[in-house]
């Protein structure tokens, strides 16, 4: 699945949060996005996923424009995002959070629910196993039956990630997946991302943990003040003088 972002511009009031951003994600891409606070990274995710309408520019998936589609329709095409600030279903258990994310459940239709209870039960038991696997992998076992609203910030981020995985996407946009997650688990999640990527799932990952990110992705895009500053291998990008300047917050030369 390829993603093409062309000349996206978004202004909040007079403030240009995105100022002509273009980015190509090839088939099976694994791309990191970095940039200082307020660079517009999360806003870009919101535009790609359809939560914010761009003032200009277009987003296309496999060559087909997405601009007229809402967030849910885009997700059904295989493009799933997570949120920087976790948006867990606070009063559902962790398990239900994950199970709710799975697509194509016949028990989500009232008719199916009452007319084909056997089928719904069978689906639920399969889904429960899949959710358990994700719970084990993310080490959420001890809190699996707690309401997600009661978890720590890091655990909530894991629920976000788990839900995205359960949604069976073809491309995942992760907004700071490692924030608040312990280093050991970060490595395991990174390994899982590599593995899923090898199986064909594309990843676009915003992350402030530059070390973890540079080990994970072969390519990194740098954003600053709504623009694309650099795009290349992590080593090349991090050596770039303009990138260093943006990160050090230095005054423009």
């Amino acid at each position: 699945m390829t993603l093409a972002i062309r000349d996206i511009a978004v202004a909040f009031g007079g403030f240009k949060a995105l100022d002509g951003i273009s980015l190509e994600m090839p088939e099976q891409g694994l791309v990191g996005i970095i940039g200082p606070n307020g660079a517009g990274k999360s806003t870009l995710f919101s535009v790609i996923s359809g939560f914010i309408a761009a003032d200009a520019g277009s987003v296309a998936l496999d060559g087909r424009a997405l601009d007229r589609l809402g967030p849910a329709a885009r997700a059904r095409r295989g493009l799933v995002r997570t949120f920087q600030v976790p948006r867990e279903f606070a009063h559902l258990t962790v398990r239900d959070n994950l199970m709710a994310a799975a697509p194509g459940q016949s028990g989500e239709h009232l008719l199916g629910l009452f007319l084909r209870p056997g089928r719904v039960r069978a689906e639920e038991s399969r889904l429960r196993d899949a959710a358990q696997e994700t719970i084990d992998f993310l080490r959420l076992g001890p809190v699996a039956d707690q309401q997600a609203g009661r978890l720590s910030g890091g655990q909530k981020k894991l629920v976000e990630l788990g839900r995205a995985l359960m949604a069976k996407p073809r491309m995942i946009l992760l907004d700071e997946p490692f924030a608040g997650v312990n280093a050991v688990l970060v490595e395991e999640i990174a390994a899982r991302i590599t593995e899923l990527n090898a199986r064909g799932i594309g990843f676009l990952i915003i992350e402030h943990d530059l070390q973890a990110l540079s080990r994970l992705v072969p390519r990194m895009a740098v954003m600053d003040r709504g623009r694309l500053l650099a795009d290349g291998t992590p080593a090349a990008v991090l050596a770039d003088a303009r990138v260093r300047e943006a990160y050090l917050g230095g005054v423009a030369a």
């Binding site: 967030p71 849910a72 997700a75 799933v80 997570t82 199970m99 709710a100 028990g107």
Partner: protein, 294 residues
């Protein structure tokens, strides 16, 4: 005394049905419906008018449920795209609009004069204890079926999705599910329950007029839900029973407060109900049966 208790029981059961509709809409899904009485009224008039045309009762109940559900459809379509607070205002307006329509469309509803002589549920039986008992049994059965159905929905994948809608709609959209479809179905199903409650009400009271369908009815259903426990099916049952006990209890207050007129007493009752609600939110916000926050 038995007749009196049965009468209270029947009204309580009608309120259970009404409250179950709100439990589905607000408790399980988070939709703030302040116009519940409108759907109650539509059901009441639909069934009453059809039965007066000679349509047999089970069919008029079906029509009541359908009419209320169909009325909820455009409300859903328009309002579900609105923010939560606007939705509350739209539904409130809908409830009042229904009452105004009943008042002004005299050719159909006989306006403020109302419709007398609506057939009772068991019109073949003479009015009396056995008849009241049979009526109560039927409504209680309807409550049981509705409660079991809601339980099943709450524990299902559908219930999981509407719980997710209540907690965070955007997150659900990001996973590829459209909240609108679910909200529409919830609005229609909850309204169908209100419509059936209305039909039972009309055939029990045997007289309908617009002033029976004031916003206070919606308020009572909300109160029952809050006292019983928001988002709990058992809460709707317990809450509606408690509400009736409370409303009837305050009736006797009059015997202890001399020199109070009927009109003044209505205000005193309303004040007492409001006070009870405040006390509940202060001391037992989760309601008697606990709520979805566990």
């Amino acid at each position: 005394m038995t007749a009196y208790l049965l009468a209270i029981g029947i009204m309580a059961a009608i309120y259970v049905l009404l409250t179950l509709g709100l439990t589905l809409q607000y408790g399980l899904t988070g939709l703030v419906n302040f116009g519940h009485v409108g759907f109650f009224a539509i059901g009441a008039y639909a069934s009453a008018l059809l039965s007066l045309q000679g349509v047999p009762l089970p069919l008029t109940f079906l029509a009541a449920a359908l009419a209320a559900a169909i009325a909820a459809w455009p409300i859903g379509l328009v309002a579900l795209r609105l923010r939560e607070d606007y939705f509350a205002v739209v539904t409130l307006g809908f409830g009042e609009t229904v009452r105004l329509a009943i008042t002004s469309e005299g050719w159909l509803t006989n306006g403020v004069q109302g419709i007398p002589g609506i057939p009772r549920l068991f019109s073949a039986m003479p009015v009396g204890l056995p008849e009241a008992l049979a009526t109560f049994a039927v409504i209680a059965l309807a409550c049981t079926v509705a409660a079991l159905m809601l339980r099943r929905i709450a524990a299902s994948p559908f219930g999981r999705v509407i719980g997710a809608i209540r907690d965070n709609e955007d997150a659900l959209k990001a996973l590829g599910k459209d909240p609108a479809r679910f909200k529409l179905q919830v609005m229609m199903l909850g309204s169908a329950l209100a419509g059936i409650a209305g039909a039972f009400y009309g055939h029990y009271i045997t007289y309908l007029s617009p002033d029976q369908f004031i916003p206070l009815v919606t308020f009572y259903a909300w109160m029952a839900m809050i006292m019983g426990g928001v988002g709990r099916v058992s809460g709707a049952v317990v809450g509606a029973a408690l509400l009736m006990a409370f409303l009837e209890g305050t009736r006797f207050l009059r015997d202890f407060i001399p020199g109070v007129s009927e009109v003044e007493m209505a205000s005193v009752r309303l004040g007492a109900v409001g006070l009870a609600l405040v006390l509940f939110t202060l001391f037992r916000p989760q309601g008697l049966m606990g709520d979805y926050r566990k």
